[in-house]
């Protein structure tokens, strides 16, 4: 009884960061790469798989799901913060239509409000030092593949002093025939009152 759907191959080569885009695999078509915009976090398409009654089926499934979550998280985080710093106007493309941002307690919902918010926010310089992620259980997401991503680091907004921050995201997979695009369903950001700064 499988609870998680995941990438069947779990290939190690496709594990580290961007290199998976260039991996030789005759079965997959990478022409999609050209059509996607730079801001999309894309992973190779997911498909159903069957294991022939191996007793380890459950744990193997979970592991591949964890791997997939890690890959998505790493890709996503690098794209998100780069877009936030350097291409701020494109940032809303990473969010679902009904996504919600909670920024130091302020709730911002929907792409319009998000656009305005990110426009108003001064330009930023993010440095992410920590990243953790977990696959979210299917029961909570009603089978929509979701990853919890948690980050921490330092940010400097123009005209303000430097702040430590903790942030968490819920990323949801949107499957197209050729690929899986991850989008933000919720984003929760808080400054941390670290040392004397």
């Amino acid at each position: 009884m499988r609870k998680y759907r995941g990438d069947p191959q779990g290939n190690r080569e496709r594990y580290c960061g961007r290199s998976h885009y260039y991996c030789e695999d005759p079965q997959k078509s990478y022409s999609y790469r050209v059509k996607q915009t730079r801001e999309d976090t894309v992973t190779p398409p997911m498909s159903e798989h069957t294991y022939s009654g191996s007793p380890k089926t459950m744990s193997v499934d979970f592991k591949t799901y964890v791997d997939q979550a890690c890959r998505a998280a790493e890709e996503f985080v690098s794209i998100y913060y780069e877009t936030m710093d350097k291409r701020r106007r494109a940032l809303t493309r990473l969010y679902l239509d009904k996504a919600t941002l909670i920024w130091n307690g302020n709730v911002v919902t929907g792409l319009d409000a998000l656009s305005k918010f990110f426009e108003m926010l001064p330009s930023s310089e993010f440095q992410v030092n920590m990243l953790d992620c977990q696959p979210v259980h299917e029961q909570a997401t009603q089978s929509q593949t979701t990853v919890l991503v948690v980050t921490s680091g330092i940010v400097k907004f123009d005209g303000n002093k430097q702040h430590y921050f903790n942030q968490n995201f819920l990323l949801t997979a949107q499957s197209t025939p050729n690929s899986t695009v991850w989008k933000i369903a919720s984003d929760c950001f808080r400054f941390q009152d670290w040392a004397s700064s």
């Binding site: 964890v66 790493e74 909670i102 029961q139 919720s186 929760c188």
Partner: protein
Amino acid sequence: MNKRYDVSQQALDLQKLRFDQDLRDHDIDMILNRRQCMAATLQIIERNFPELLSLNLCNNKLYWLDGLSDIVEKAPQVKILNLSKNELRTSTELDKLKGLKLEELWLEGNPLCSAFPDQSAYVSAIQDCFPKLLRLVSAYLCSPPLFLTYATPTAPKPCGSHHRDSLSSLLLHRYYLIYDYGDRQGLLDAYHDEACFSLTIPFNPEDPDPNSLEEYFKDNRNIKKHKDPFLRMQLLKHTKYDIVNCISILPKTQHDFNSYVVDLCVQTEMMLCFSVNGLFKEVEGKSQGSVRAFTRTFILTSGTNSSLCIVNDEMIVRNASPKETQSAFSIPMLPPSSSYVPDQEQQGTAQPFSTQSEEQNLNWKKWEFTNGNFHLICKNNFCYVLLPKMGSWKNIY
């Protein structure tokens, strides 16, 4: 009326009286929110059941209790009163019953339940009316009720403040009471069978004492640092047994509930996701007294019996800043002399939860909390409040 009277309990059940078949058969329209009907009912009670102990007036569309105030004379022995699922809007209605020496009161499903700014204001108001009250049953105390009926994709409510009575606050309260004061194995029921947990320590070059967090190092999962998929897998705790075993070994803590700031991220039919930022201190071991700051993200879903269980749990822990350390525990949460001592005569003991049997009571399904003013119990997804009799606690249930 006689058929609704239980002699052994001295209890009269007038629930939904208007729809009583017998009365309708006799063409009697007993609408209790009409003064004459209520008066007539009370007369019948006075005549036939003056020794009445328990009265159930649930679901009778009662807006006012003027008519019921005569009960103080006509059935003065009433100790248990069920007014749930009516239309009482303010607690001043209850003032009309002030002479009654009530020990148990059911109020859930009345508009007045959500009219209070917070839980303790609510409980105090009720206590003012009925000083001898021992038991208050009200779903407000878990509002929204723990039986989930979330509307589908709701925009999250404004948050980030000390919203004491939200569902997430209540869950946190419940969770951390067991975490701090009970055996953490009691949290097994809080987690889904296939839940995940992981912990991280953010990097701060300015931290003067990073090694004081060494008890957390072995579980620190930072996938920026750890590239080996096997290690990444190992550091993610999977299944509730692994999770509870892991958190049971973490240092013993005392969390400052007053420091909590909760961000509600997602609230849908099947998912509740929120993040809490707060402070705790370590209460034993090498780092005893150290104050830490944490951010914990919980994702919960509706499990068996419509009760919520945790499917994902992620914790960030770091040393608190000097400012945070100063502000921690500045508002006392448990007065020092208030210990969890049901059925005991001892007062003012410094050690809470000192006996084995008390620790065993702290599990997710059935747990208790006391703060010297009231005693909160969670059982079968309802919260009950017990108000102490002078001098000692009494276990009623």
